[in-house]
Subunit: 252 residues, 2 copies
């Protein structure tokens, strides 16, 4: 069976606070793992500042290249939240008040708390489909293949879980991971030979030092279970050839 | 005094394991904070897979745009470590055995442990300046304005500390951060007015929910201390106008 063309995605992390080191991003790791299970491959992420032209250009570059684009950050009630306006502009649109989003916000806040700043979160590009926010109500939105999500990981993750069934992936990539105390500098040539025998598999080598114990974890990734297991078996054999035994062997 | 032109940098995080969610990157946050102190602004980061053409293109795009480019990942002894070859190709060069790097590796390993895979780490672009690795000896390198570093955070960080004095920054950006329980949806309009009065300052608003307490942290960033403090004072006044008191007020 010929493998189907991979369905790819890109993530745009928007926020000065990530680039200044103030905040450590957590959305990339979450999204990469979740998409993988759905058969969508996250193949690129860009971290960019809250600058209109940069957001517009980045969204336009990536939405033309990938099946899905996700943005995180910049959709709150303050002046530095410009993602919705930037995504609108990327599509040649202007923001307008979205009645459904406004109703959600008015339903959530006491009348005296419905501030102009909060209502700004209901200004969306025309044609945007709302993405439900089960935590703090202010919705995200989807415009064509661009999903616009908040930066706060807890909210972003809760929202993703509500719409992820809509995403149409290809074959999920399966993986095996084999860990031992054989260092990658010893395994290198054997691993390279195994890679040559399974040219379509993605074989990675990740050294570690943990609790005083050094070694490497070898990961095989491929959509076909038999291929993953066959390559993983060869890696285990190579480890045993160094008189060692894998102490972790996780298979798909 | 007219502000000097900002000195900018970009980071390229290379590795399938980051995009698949297997590993959470820690180098972006470290580098963003460290560069900031040196007056270098990290204005872009890209996370890309271990794919030759992608690395070459990304490095070439970014090195033409920024004073400094840093790459992390992909410089180990295994077949999936292709960063050195990709950076060489980005400069139109081919890898060759670097005598100084080879001597370092031969000095570190017992003769029987000097495997071909490990010696691969001494294959560098001609003209590369070695970057000392105080942890595991295998050096990184600099080629013109491109700094090639390992992905393991502990090693990357130790190496960075040894060469960071070479980097020539502009004015460091100073910051104040004011935290209170006034939600950003209430502060929004006031904050926007303050931003308008300090158009060159970067004023950010970061909501949080922590230990059952909700609120927002407002951050002012600018190279001039008086500007930072004046804007921060106005933010404190705005918070007090809501009958609240900042419970954290960190100044430069």
């Amino acid at each position: 069976m010929a493998p189907s063309k991979p369905v790819t995605a890109a993530l745009v992390v928007i926020g000065n606070e990530i680039l200044s080191g103030r905040t450590r991003d957590a959305n990339l790791q979450f999204l990469g793992a979740e998409l993988n299970e759905l058969g969508v491959r996250l193949v690129e992420a860009r971290v960019i500042p809250d600058v209109m032209e940069t957001i517009v250009e980045t969204v336009n570059t990536l939405r033309a290249t990938h099946a899905y684009v996700f943005t995180t950050g910049g959709i709150g009630p303050t002046h530095d939240d410009i993602t919705a306006a930037a995504v609108a502009r990327a599509f040649g649109l202007e923001l307008e008040r979205n009645a459904e989003a406004e109703a959600l916000l008015r339903g959530h806040y006491k009348p005296e708390d419905v501030t102009p700043a909060r209502l700004k979160m209901a200004d969306l590009p025309p044609g945007a489909a709302l993405l439900e926010n089960p935590v703090s109500k202010a919705p995200g939105f989807r415009l064509e293949n661009v999903y616009v999500l908040p930066g706060v990981p807890r909210i972003m993750q809760a929202m993703f879980k509500l719409f992820s069934h809509e995403l149409v992936g290809g074959e999920p990539v399966l993986s095996a991971s084999i860990t031992s105390d054989v260092p990658e500098g010893r395994m290198g040539m054997r691993l390279s030979e195994i890679q040559d025998r399974y040219p379509d598999a993605d074989i990675g080598s990740y050294p570690f030092i943990k609790d005083g114990r050094a070694g490497a974890c070898f990961v095989v990734r491929h959509p076909d279970r038999d291929t993953v297991n066959a390559a993983a078996d060869e890696i285990c054999d190579a480890i045993r050839a160094f008189d060692s035994e894998p102490f972790e062997d996780v298979r798909p």
